[in-house]
Amino acid sequence: MSETLENFRTEIADWIAANLPPELQGVAQSEETICWGGRNWQFTSGAQRDWLSRCHARGLTCPRWPTEYGGGGLSRAEEKILREEMDRSGAPSPLQSFGIWMLGPALLKFGTDEQKAAHLPDITAGKIRWCQGYSEPGAGSDLANVQTRAEDMGDHWLVNGSKIWTSYADKADKIFALVRTDREAPKHLGISFMLIDMEAPGVTTKPIRLISGASPFCETFFDNVKVPKEGTIVGEMNRGWDVAKYLLTHEREMIGGGGGGLLAGSTLADLMGTLDPVAAADPFIQTQAMELEVDAMAFALTMERYKDMAEAGQGVGHASAMLKYYGTELNKRRHEIVMSARGTNSLDWEDGAAATWLRTKANSIEGGTSEVMLDIIAKRVLELPSK
């Protein structure tokens, strides 16, 4: 490894050592400990606030973004080293948000300089919390079936319709949404990628209860919402589908990664806990667990291999659909086994296993169903014909 990179490693390691608040060190990442930022964010501790501001000052909330927007301007190699050092020193992620994962990349690729200047700094600083508005009730996997419409009222857009599966919409400051700006155009055209303030009059949200219990998902309703014309459309007018498609791949790799993350996390043995003697003697539970473990380890290696490919600049492309498909189906299987291994102990809501198990059933639906992933692999990767 080049000397400059090695210097960077030492440098960043020292910086972390000097700036990471001890009370944050080695704290497991969880709903409770994540820092999402935003207008109404309540820091869980002074340490969390300090860590965010120090990382932001050093450009580490968005390491690869340009420094002018509060990014770190790091290379892929440097970012990898940063990640390694953060992990090694047990440092939590200073900030997470859909702004970092999705809107930022979209703006960097499709946004105007004005839009970048207007939004990226607030994202890197954790001042504005964004949510994503793609899916609509009744559209399901058919994301391009956008019914939420924005009418051109001359000096503003008038937005009416509703979005579903908008995570944390009830906590977000702004939403990036797909809206139909041309109702005559064919389905995939006539859609624009629009930025809307959640505090605008007419925007309301309703949390969605899942079969597993409460969830961050919401329905978001737009009732005659006025959206200014200036700088609210990302990319070309009526070309929002291009932006969305670009981001979907991001999301897919994220969830794939999530799947991998999950699997890399606690082992199956941990999840199953100490087995009841009868369960321990059951060859079905035993073999299902063994087979799952075999597949999970091979999948974890595959996540590694695909990361290697990406880092080597070999495009993964549509094959990322495989990660999404395989990782999520694996996770469903895994928690079926956990439930069966824990037996009647897990049938009480008080035992967290049931809620986790039920929640995994959404893994193969959210962010593109397994069926859609298989279609993508068949058509795009294997190039099977459509007739």
């Binding site: 899916s135 969605i208 079969i211 009868v278 079926e336 049938l347 039920l358 059933k361 639906i365």
Partner: protein
Amino acid sequence: MEKLLDTEDEVMLRDAARGFLEENAPLSAFRANRDAVRSYDPALWSEMAQMGWAGVLLPEEAGGADMGHRAAGILSEEMGKTLVASPFIASAVIAATALRDAGSDHLADIAAGQALYALAIDESAKFSPKHSALQARGEGNAFRLSGRKCFVADGASANRILVLARTSGSAGETQGLTLFNLDADRAGLNREAANSIDARDFATLDFDNVEATGDDVIGDVDNGLAAITPALQAGQAALAAELTGLSSGIAAITLGYLKERKQFGRTIGSFQALQHRAAHLFSEIEVTASAIANAGRVLDAGGSSDLAVSLAKARATQTAKLAVMEGVQMHGGIGMTDEYDAGFFMKRARVGAEWLGDYGYHAAIIAAHRGL
């Protein structure tokens, strides 16, 4: 072998049951119970009792309808289709069978739907009656019960308790167990309702020196496993039937959805990949239905029925698991919402998979019969 088809009487019973339940216990009724944190609807149960369901396995002289196990399976299957929660399996099937075989004089109360029985067998995470360790210390003609039972069906709502306790030997031995029939307000008995994912009544029961007499014993002292086993088999067959009804129920809802839901400008039911999965699910349900009918017939014929019953429960468990997973997945996002009913089927299927013996428990019984 008896025909596996429903007889004319059975067809009539099925139609009558379906009609009654559609009218009085649709899925919305289950949701209402769930939202009201009510494990079942007593009013509905007394209506069922009046129709003879509570006495389906009891002789007419005890006020029963004496329709037999196949009939009980049909009722259970129909209840499964709309997730009807009731004391049927624990009281009308299991307790009724145990007490009938023992010539008990409580039969009329069961047939009337007034005696509600809790089934206190399990003591750990997996069903295995012979592993019961809850102690029943003999004192002259009396006994003192101390220990804990978990996952007790209808444990919080019942007014009577069937409890399997150890009067001699140690956990794992088939001998030395004794079956007691106690009223639920005995001193020293503490009942704590669980928060079960299927919104049914399962409870943990703590016995602290609870007194019982010889009159409370069902069957013979130290031979309680023999007293409860046929009753458990009857219950396993009925539960298997419920799970198969549950599978048909969610499959029907899912098929309906596949036929009406449009996506990418097509009815999703026209996608061949979904068609083949739906066809496979249909096949599994058909094959399981045969095992259900067979179990009822074999139980009604008397004689050894563990093979037939375990076959029914093993198949029903696997089929229900497939049906609910396909049901939720094929519905997509909406299937994941609590507003929609698919999740209820999934949760009940999971409970049904464990209750009265999971797949491995029953597969082992079958394997032993088949020289595997």
